[in-house]
């Protein structure tokens, strides 16, 4: 069974859907077409167009909610409700409700990657990470996983190519997936793929095109930066929580002291109240970091891995084609294989390389646009939240200060301000 053929077919179907913009995202003229390629209509499009298109023609809204625990004899797992509202005509109804577990999401992702090896599929939340003593059924863990799963589906449904992929429709509308899950690429073919991949990497790539070298470097650097930012943010959350713990002890001591005093009791209570109030604001601020910023950074850390994987797959496709071309050039009549067959195979693989490159190129700039939007929005929201935090604390202390200054007999000996 030649899985490359299967892939080609699906890729060609998808390519028809594409808006055919002949120029590259950076404005340079389109590359020349590869011979024999029905599907060589290059997937080039302006990211801005794509975003605009997404906003205006967003036809599908997906929510993932209602996590419920299911217990069987063998295992316990969480099942989520997946609700889809869509205006797409290829769906049987405008509203679908199904129930899915994490494994089902993994299946979907696998099918999407199989069909589109060089498209950037949004990452799933990790399988299960031992973050200290967090257990699998911890409320916070389930909630953050739920959000990530919802984001995965939303992003996929917004993707111009992936959204049309049959496995997605199945996932969203088919009540029972078990039958379809069995029809995956067989275990043997998957082994075949990976053996081929290893063999190719041993051979080595003759020459990677410059643009993909640049992408590789970017992916590596970006991955490092995201890892650092994620770690820094986690550290800040930790330190803030420890600060919060101390703050919670600090306020009550002023109250205790106030109990001993007469005149001094009122200002002491005032300070206690300010400290307590600021503590509550700090709690909210840390919450925002944990719920918004850190997940956003973590998500793009996982994306970085996806980028590297996609580049590797592209390399493998190119390596395969190069191997076939080598076989072609070194052909002699003594070889078992028919020359014509070999020529056909080589042409097919070359076309595959072109398609893969085009798909990746297009999706890369789409991904970049999305990344910029998402991270910018998370950072702006965080900065905004921090400004709010300090503003609220400022108001609290200023109120206290005013109450002290309006008290009779108080002289203003100092000026307010930095």
């Amino acid at each position: 069974m030649r899985s490359e053929d299967m892939l080609d077919l699906e890729e060609d179907d998808d390519l028809e859907v594409f808006s055919k913009n002949p120029s590259l995202a950076d404005g340079s003229p389109a590359s020349s077409c590869v011979p024999n390629s029905r599907g060589s209509m290059v997937n080039q499009y302006h990211p801005e167009d794509q975003e605009a298109a997404g906003v205006h023609t967003r036809d599908t809204f997906i929510t993932v909610d209602h996590p419920e625990s299911h217990v069987t004899a063998i295992e316990t797992f969480i099942v989520y409700r997946v609700l889809t509202r869509t205006t797409r005509e290829d769906f049987d109804s405008s509203e679908c409700e199904v129930h899915r577990r994490y494994q089902d999401f993994l299946w979907l992702k696998g099918k999407l990657e199989e069909a589109h090896p060089t498209l950037i599929v949004h990452p799933l939340p990790e399988k299960f990470v031992m973050k200290g003593l967090v257990e699998r059924f911890n409320e916070d863990f389930i909630e953050s996983r739920r959000r990530a799963l919802q984001l995965f589906l939303s992003k996929t449904a917004d993707h111009p190519l992936l959204s049309r992929s049959p496995p997605l429709k199945l996932f969203l509308s088919e009540p029972d997936l078990t039958a379809h899950k069995k029809q995956g690429p067989s275990f043997l073919s998957r082994v075949g793929d990976s053996v081929r991949a290893v063999a190719n990497s041993v051979r080595g790539l003759k020459s990677r095109p410059e643009e993909f070298v640049a992408m590789q470097e970017y992916a590596d650097d970006f991955s490092n930066k995201m890892a650092s930012l994620d770690k820094i943010t986690q550290r800040i959350i930790k330190e803030q929580n420890e600060y919060l713990d101390e703050l919670r002890q600090y306020g009550p001591i002023y109250t205790q002291w106030a109990g001993l005093e007469a005149e001094l009791s009122e200002p002491l209570r005032g300070v206690a109240s300010c400290v307590d109030h600021c503590g509550r604001e700090t709690e909210e601020q840390v919450g925002h970091l944990a719920d918004v910023l850190e997940p956003a950074l973590h998500q793009y850390l996982l994306c970085a891995d996806t980028l590297k994987t996609v580049l590797r797959r592209r390399d493998n496709i190119q390596a395969e084609s190069e191997a076939k071309n080598d076989a072609l050039t070194s052909w002699s009549s003594s070889k078992k294989v028919d020359h014509e067959t070999l020529k056909e195979e080589a042409a097919c693989l070359e076309e595959r390389v072109q398609n893969a490159n085009a798909a990746l190129r297009g999706d890369w700039s789409r991904w970049e646009g999305g990344m910029r939007t998402d991270l910018k929005s998370a950072l702006v929201a965080t900065a905004h939240k921090n400004v709010e935090y300090y503003e609220k604390c400022l108001a609290v202390w200023e109120t206290f200060l005013m109450s002290q200054r309006s008290a009779p007999g108080q002289e203003d000996r100092r000026e307010e301000g930095c």
């Binding site: 600060y243 703050l247 001591i253 900065a383 400004v387 400022l394 202390w397 200054r405 930095c418």
Partner: protein, 405 residues
Amino acid sequence: MVERETALLRKIDINVAESEKRTGKNTVNMQETYTVYLIETRPADAGAEGGLPVGDSPWRRYSEFELLRTFLLVTYPYVVVPPLPEKRAEFVWHRMSADNLDPDFVERRRMGLENFLMRVASHSALSNDKIFYQFLTEEKGWRESVLETGFQDKADSRLKSLSAMFRVKNPDKCFTDLKQYSDELNSAISHLLRVRAKVADRMYGVYKVHGNYGRVFSEWSAIEKEMGDGLQSAGHHMDTHSASVDDILEEEEHYADQLKEYLFYTDALRSVCRKHELMQYELEMAVMDLANKKQQREELTSGAVRVFSLKGMSSKLFGQESPEQRESRLAALELSIETSEEGVLDKNSECRDFMRMSWEEVKRFKEQKDRELREALISYAIMQISMCKKGIQVWSNAKECFNKM
């Protein structure tokens, strides 16, 4: 705080102007390094130039300040004597140095010593003390002058009394309340200082980690096209934010120092209470002693032995004493009773005077404490406001930068 309410302060200005490191041999003949502080006194109306110093402008070390204070404690037992800045750095949050020779510690100590001298100079009784004036103005011979006053003897007995366990039969409620208050205040302020140090520590950690954002944003900006500028400038603001915590916490140390001063004041309060207790006890002892003697007199005159005495026993065993012997004993007893009665009267008036003077002192102290600690809380609020304003500034700037991404 300088209200020229005493004659001394109307005459002179007092400054602890500088500090210097010295090395020398100590009492056990070992080399040591210590800090000395320059005490400058100038005429009060000297204006901006300062005028010529009054006296020698002596250099004094911490132990000499301690000696001065002990002298004042012994000589003016009813006064709530102002405390010295701490001997060793305590309630330190971990980035602060606990080293006595650290320049920040020395600088804060210098200010604390100046504050101490000003407080003594503002006190109606203490400011007139000759030894205090000599401390401020005489380079040589001060130590000898202090020791010559013989206060050490009183100090020793005072030390004994402070550590001795005795029970007063009729404790004065005002003073027992005051003692309880000073204990509770001491405990509250210690607790507050300890937790404040921990809060400072944690806050330091949070701010400093943000410096890492600065570094990584900068590195990230190098690989991005459109986002580069926004990220780069946001990174600078993160660096600013991280650096701002140093000034914030340094200012807070002043607040901590104000609290510490009142923590140490509780010791002065306690020793006034203790002194009062001792006087009360001595009075009770004197009264009891007088009562005993009167009792003895009664027995001698009436012949009845109601109270056991060795003399009584021995006269029982070895025969009654002669009338002449009895007469002489009675005379001696009468004399003793007279002395005792005078003693009781003296002790009584001493006690009353002490109570009157110390209670005025305590009242004055409480007013000062309420006023100054309220000020301290206000300045703490101002510090918090300043910190919040810096935070708003930094994050508003960062938000603008992120918006440009």
